[in-house]
């Protein structure tokens, strides 16, 4: 009995340690799958939440289109300095812009508007075709690359936001955009570099309506 006692103590101590610090946990497959899904970034869910909770509430921050267009006309470099934003080291930049204009032409991929007083030519082209690029993600300045440890997540947001524009904004816009109609719009324009032709300014619409 005396010889067994130390062994008993050792077994109890080991059992106690294993109970306190288990070597493994048994988790149901369903729970494990749910936990993995919760930890994985879902760009569609993120974009949906961002769209309704932040983006639509920030539309009043956009520059006035007639003011921006006049500034670009007068001095593109000064307009860029005053109204644009850019991400990182880049010659490209974005404008966040709102306004209204008269529909001049309608094509498969864009709806051209005359915006400034007395204009008859296309000054803004609302994009209604397939969308690529980061105009909506970067245009408002609401999203910051530094908040995303993996840049693949940040990039996936662009695709998800473009998808929302294609499914929610473009179809309604195409319905109402007839030549001569007045369209209100808020959107973002991505300018590749200073040699880019800004006549018209290509704007990805976020919200549109008629007057």
């Amino acid at each position: 009995m005396k010889r067994l006692f130390p062994w008993l103590i050792l077994i109890v101590a080991t059992a106690g340690i294993c109970w306190r610090f288990p070597l493994f946990h048994v988790v149901s497959l369903k729970r494990a799958t749910e936990e993995k899904a919760a930890a994985t970034f879902n760009p569609a869910t993120f974009a949906e939440k961002f769209w309704s909770e932040k983006l639509l509430k920030s539309l009043d921050q956009a520059a006035k289109a007639d003011e921006l267009l006049s500034a670009i006309q007068a001095n593109p470099a000064e307009a860029k300095k005053k109204f644009s934003r850019s991400v990182g080291v880049s010659e490209s930049y974005t404008y966040f812009v709102s306004g209204k204009g008269r529909v001049v032409t309608v094509s498969e991929d864009e709806i051209a508007l005359a915006v400034t007083a007395g204009a008859t030519n296309a000054e803004v082209a609302l994009q209604t075709g397939l969308l690529f690029g980061n105009a909506v993600r970067d245009g408002t300045g609401l999203l910051n690359v530094n908040d995303y440890p993996n840049s693949q997540d940040f990039n996936a947001i662009s695709e998800a936001l473009n998808q929302l524009v294609e499914t929610r904004v473009q179809p309604k816009l195409r319905e109402v955009a007839k030549a001569g109609a007045t369209i209100r719009f808020v959107g973002c324009a991505e300018v590749n570099d200073e040699s880019t032709d800004l006549k018209p300014l290509k704007v990805v619409p976020i919200q549109t309506g008629t007057n």
Binding site: V87, G88, V89, S90, E91, S92, L130, F132, G133, N134, V145, N146, D147, Y148, P149, N150, S151, Q152, N155, A156, S158, E159
Partner: protein, 319 residues
């Protein structure tokens, strides 16, 4: 004689004091006696990374440091060993081109724990609080532009292949996803093969030869970097199909830029390795001199290079 001796002593002493003051003033402008900066590069088996490493080293030397390049040979274990040597070797900063977005995080954490700032160049690590700053190629957006050009010149239908880079590297997927975010919207453009060639020219040749044998009717190949594009182009030359299949690369390597000018390769994305490397070295210098508030991730735009604008590019950047 004594008076002369006293005068000479005074002159020598004055000269010594002047030299001491001058040396102190000079030292205030310069890093103290050749501090060391390490440049740890994922691989030197690719000219693009050689340019990245050599430019970072050259800029560090210009700024008054001793700089040494360490080649990780695309192996996180070798990279870990370099970090241990750098930490033990009294270096003041690391300019770092990681081998693996996840696998390299531990190495950066070690350096941070040892008080060493790490500045990532070109490739990122999946962490926003370990590196001091990360100067990254915006590969995704570059490949969105490349994808749009691909559709424009290849057309909206046909078969194509893709050569991927290292599977564990975020750049591989940022490039592939950027490209597919465009091309996949055209359902008649069919990808018949997608295989990794590890960003390597020899593997690019080997893998694309095999793809060509099974799919002789591909119209184009999108390669995740220019080394693989050169390998794919070589495979096409050997098969006598160089003028039938369009090759798209990514990096802006000099040999590919020249082949674009000659009309042999269709397009690439210019990544500006020299800009990134110089900026990273300058960040390290600023850190050593006391600056601490660095933006964590700084994307650097990638520009589309095609036959229409190739004259503007060369020497790993814009002319």
């Amino acid at each position: 004689m004594k008076t002369y001796f006293n005068k000479l002593t005074c002159a020598v002493a004055l000269a010594m004091v002047s030299m001491f003051i001058a040396a102190s003033a000079f030292a205030a402008d310069q890093p103290s006696a050749k501090q060391k900066i390490a440049v740890v590069i994922s691989t030197l088996n690719n000219p693009w990374f050689v340019v990245l490493g050599e430019t970072a080293k050259a800029r560090a030397i210009e700024l008054g440091y001793d700089a040494t390049i360490f080649d990780s040979q695309n192996d996180t274990a070798k990279e870990a060993s370099h970090f241990e040597n750098v930490i033990a070797g009294g270096y003041k900063a690391i300019l770092f081109n990681p081998t693996d977005a996840n696998g390299s995080v531990a190495n950066v954490k070690k350096a941070k724990a040892a008080g060493l700032p790490v500045f990532c160049i070109d490739r990122e690590i999946n962490s926003t609080n370990d590196a001091t700053a990360q100067m990254l190629s915006d590969s995704y957006s570059g490949c969105v532009a490349l994808g749009q050009y691909f559709v424009k010149v290849v057309g909206k239908e046909g078969k194509y292949a893709e050569l991927l880079g290292i599977v564990g590297d975020n750049n591989t997927w940022n490039r592939s996803k950027g490209f597919h975010s465009v091309v996949d919207r055209y359902t008649n453009l069919v990808m018949v093969a997608q295989q990794s060639a590890d960003f390597d020219r020899a593997k690019g040749l080997e893998v694309f030869e095999s793809i060509l044998q099974k799919n002789p009717d591909v119209k184009a190949v999108f390669c995740g970097n220019d080394s693989m594009a050169m390998g794919a182009y070589q495979a096409l030359v050997s098969a006598g199909k160089a003028d039938k299949v369009k090759v798209f690369g990514f990096d802006g390597a000099d040999d590919v830029v020249k082949l674009i000018a000659d009309g042999k390769i269709t397009a690439t994305g210019m990544q500006f390795p020299k800009t990134m490397a110089r900026n990273a070295a300058e960040f390290a210098d600023e850190y050593i001199k006391g600056k601490r508030d660095f933006q964590q991730k700084i994307p650097v735009k990638v520009e589309l290079v095609t036959k229409e604008n190739v004259s503007k590019y060369g020497d790993y950047g814009k002319k």
